[in-house]
């Protein structure tokens, strides 16, 4: 059987090159930047802070608000900056993928605001957004049970592939973004567009878990290298 290669020359289980940075914005409580191939995402986290309007606050826990937004220059054709139906849906999806890891009960009547800004879109923006948002939350010092790493898998030309590009995303027969807590091995998000047989689903899921764990290792390495550079004197007593 001849070796299956993708349009960009990658193997089916090969991820695009990933770059991660934390602490990229001074004004935000936590921030991160993730580049996955041609996809570039910047995330800022604010909070925990008092909820406005007040009636949204919960007496027993914090709330998470998320805004996923694609910059007008992120796509080939100008994208209107008005939030689209897709952006509103993805904001909800990202919020739910992250909220299950945050220890919300520690901060009653407060809010944690997450702003996900897609600077350049080339497939897998929600996954890169979740990965970056998780890093930004860790950078903000918000207690979480684990980091969250995300990666999409899909079926393209009859084969299960990982980390789809924008082109592959448009042509694929199925697309399944998965978000995972890498240390606890718990899934926080799974969506499936298209059709997969049970065997294909299992193959795709296992591939996604493997990819998420790899991304999780990169997240931990990024946080460690950032914190190890910091001198003891600038740390704050809690």
């Amino acid at each position: 059987m001849s070796e299956f290669t993708r349009r960009d020359g990658r193997k089916p289980d090969e991820l695009r090159p990933i770059k991660m940075k934390v602490g990229v914005l001074d004004k935000a409580d936590g921030s991160a930047y993730v580049e996955q191939g041609g996809t570039k995402v910047l995330v800022a986290v604010y909070g925990p802070r008092e909820v406005h309007p007040r009636h949204l606050g919960l007496p027993e826990s914090a709330i998470v608000r998320c805004r996923y937004h694609m910059a007008p220059f992120s796509t080939k054709e100008r994208k209107s900056p008005t939030p689209t139906r897709r952006e509103i849906e993805l904001s909800k999806v990202i919020k739910e993928a992250l909220a299950s890891t945050i220890m919300l009960d520690l901060y009653p009547r407060t809010t944690i605001d997450i702003f996900v800004e897609v600077l350049q879109a080339d497939g897998g923006t929600r996954c890169a957004g979740i990965t970056a948002a998780s890093l930004a939350l860790a950078h903000a010092g918000i207690p979480m049970i684990d980091l969250v790493s995300a990666c999409a898998v899909g079926k393209w030309n009859g084969r299960i592939i990982v980390d789809l590009t924008g082109e592959e995303d448009e042509e694929c027969e199925a697309d399944m973004p998965v978000a995972l807590m890498p240390s606890l091995e718990r899934v926080t998000l799974i969506q499936l567009n298209g059709r997969l047989t049970p065997d294909e689903f299992l193959e795709a899921f296992n591939l996604a878990v493997k990819a998420c764990k790899y991304i999780g290792e990169l997240q931990k390495a990024t946080l460690r290298s950032y914190y190890e550079k910091i001198k003891e004197e600038v740390l704050y007593e809690q």
Partner: protein, 194 residues
């Protein structure tokens, strides 16, 4: 927090396993999940070998919310007979400035001074206060200004807006010559917000 033999561990990130529950009890920055003690924030763990606890002492994050026992800098934004509301701007000794500010309340029952019929006699709208958080009952920050260090640290003349000057136990406007009553902090006029 710890006082016995302390051992510092390697840097941990959320989700990292540091011990099992039989070894150490999780404190600040750690939690227990299915018998395993894991980190919830980034930092260096301190293992107290006598008390058998593990915690994170210092973090890079300047992010924290006010807690009971904290001394805070706040500004009164609503004053009635029995209660005053204040915006908590900053916890003294911590770097974070709250934006938007948290809301705190000062109830008349929390004042030790006996002859106060209305809270308006000691705090007025727009006064800058140095207060202490006494509780977070019903998820509301309850503040007190009892004690010589707590009280009004800066106030303005209600007529001309000029900063009032402290003279004996009163505040005086140098332009209008009016005398205002307040519960004045001993740091009035020279309070440093750090």
């Amino acid at each position: 927090m710890g006082s016995g033999v302390l051992k510092r561990g390697e840097l941990v990130v959320p989700g990292d396993k540091v011990a099992v529950i039989e070894e150490f009890e999780p404190k600040y920055g750690f939690y227990e999940d299915l018998g395993v003690v894991r980190a919830s924030i980034v930092g260096y763990p301190i293992f107290d070998m006598d008390k058998r606890i593990v915690y994170i002492e210092k973090t890079l994050s300047k992010n924290s919310i006010p807690r009971p026992g904290d001394d805070v800098y706040c500004i009164a934004y609503e004053v009635s007979d029995k209660i005053a509301f204040a915006h908590i701007i900053k916890v003294i000794g911590r770097p974070k400035v709250f934006q938007p500010p948290f809301t705190g309340v000062i109830h008349i029952s929390r004042l030790k001074k006996a002859k106060v019929n209305s809270i308006r006699e000691i705090v007025k709208l727009g006064d800058h206060l140095y207060a202490s958080i006494i509780s977070r009952r019903n998820n509301v920050y309850h503040l007190t200004i009892s004690g010589p260090e707590f009280g009004v640290i800066l106030a303005r003349c209600p007529y001309c807006g000029l900063l009032l000057e402290k003279k004996d136990q009163n505040l005086v406007c140098s332009k209008c010559n009016i005398v205002e009553q307040r519960k004045i902090s001993k740091y009035y006029g020279n309070f440093k917000i750090v």
